[in-house]
């Protein structure tokens, strides 16, 4: 799934679907708590917007979690920022690819070929057309929130201010819009 090269091979495999995971030790949440501020600052200073920084922070945690059993806090901290750097390199690479062709394929961040194929391009265009049709049929407020987010690139807080609603309400509208897009796009992307 990821083209990020993790610096260490996972010693513990992620549990398979349907298998109840071992309860992670409480120390993981404490570790995140301790480093979250630094990580966000680190990412924020290297990315154009808040959303991307938050999204990559979550990716870092999800990946880091696979290694938590084998590392002491110092190496975990090192690993956290190593993963962050790798993800940043990825994001930059995909942004560069994006500038060569504005109609990016869906899985741009997971893109392994340097250039999207013609098929990817067509797929990306079709997908955008479906998304556009979904947006036009959303209730007005939900539509406005999604447009401000995806077209104007505003943060949740900015959208909340502009629409005169709470940040939580903004999140609800975006979640609703994403669900509507997913429903319209069908099960194509599902394995």
């Amino acid at each position: 799934m990821a083209c990020v090269e993790e610096p260490v091979k996972p010693a513990v495999q992620a549990p398979a679907a349907g298998v109840a995971p071992e309860a992670p030790p409480p120390s993981f949440a404490a570790f995140v708590q301790q480093h979250h501020g630094d990580l966000i600052r680190f990412l924020r200073s290297r990315l154009p917007n808040e959303d991307d920084a938050q999204d990559l922070a979550q990716e870092c945690y999800a990946r880091l979690l696979r290694y938590q059993h084998d590392h002491d806090t110092t190496s975990l901290q090192f690993l956290l920022f190593r993963i962050a750097r790798n993800l940043l390199t990825d994001a930059w690479r995909s942004r560069k690819a994006q500038h060569q062709d504005t109609h990016v394929p869906v899985d741009d961040v997971e893109l392994e070929a340097p250039q999207p194929t013609q098929l990817d391009r067509i797929h990306g265009e079709q997908q955008i057309n479906v998304i556009k049709n979904v947006i036009r049929r959303l209730p007005p407020r939900c539509q406005a929130v999604f447009v401000f987010s995806r077209i104007d690139g505003l943060s949740h807080n900015e959208i909340a201010r502009r629409c005169g609603i709470s940040t939580r309400a903004v999140e609800k509208h975006i979640t609703k819009a994403l669900a509507a897009c997913r429903a319209a796009l069908g099960e194509d992307d599902r394995p």
Partner: protein, 342 residues
Amino acid sequence: MTHHELDTAALDPHETHPIAAEAERRFVRCLSPDCSAEEHADTAQWRLASAAHEAAYQQARALWRASRALASDPDAMMLRKGAEAHVRRLRGEGRARSRRLRQALAASVAAVALAWGGWQGGLFDALRPPPVMADHQFETAVGEQRVAALADGSEVVLNTGTAVEAHLDRQQRAVTLHSGEALFDVAHDRRRPFVVAVGEDTVTALGTRFQVRHTGDDAVVTLFEGKVRIARADGRARDLAPGEQARLAAAGGIEVIRIRAEDADAWSRGWLVFRDEPLSEVVAEVNRYATTPINLADPALGNLRLSGNFRVGDSTSMASAMAALLPLRVTTQGEGLALAAR
């Protein structure tokens, strides 16, 4: 919009795809600047708990990233206009509602006051809602255009290479056009004048639609609706009527001409309109939007005259269009393009 609305309640994802819905909720939450470390850790653990969770989360992410291509879609401006209009409508309703409430309150207070036998002046003013105060900064890169909303409900459309700053306080709505060109659709608020500063000059509006251009040393003010007052640093002032355009030259003075309003703000609809203009000016205008500038191989070509409507776009296709209309050919010149005689 003629489409029927999606019944988002009917396709409630919690019924059919609970994992996908949960993944979307978590993903969107994680994008928020106020998402706590605890929530991040919890979502990371939720994702690790099953491959289905992770797959659903990655699908939400992929959809999110794919939808970013909307920003460069030809329909982006239209969708954005729709969203802005909706917000304005909401604000309008909000204002009407608070006005009704204010009137109702005022009536009951008046009744009490009359029964009491006294009347306090200024009571109505005290009942008005406090004006919205906010600071805004907007910028566009070369070739970029953007619609921005101010907290008072006014709208600013920024043209290419523009920087605008706004400070809304109790007394006034102070906007500074640092560079570039902006179209202002001003929300009516008689208590707070809307003042656009261009260098040392100002343009003051109440509720109106006008645009200000600040390129080089000169400023150009065009009024579409309502009324604005221009005040120059030297003390000269002039009111504009709709359809009038004032040029404020660096040397001083206010020179007013009548213009075709639909041409003057064509840029905000994605067009550049030229009517019998010298090529030198056309090229200068096109270059405002271009990261790859166009040059004239021979300055004398600048006297050729050109009319036409051009879609704002990349300079290569603009140069080709000019070469097709005039006896010119396009060549490359270093980083840029050159127009030479055929």
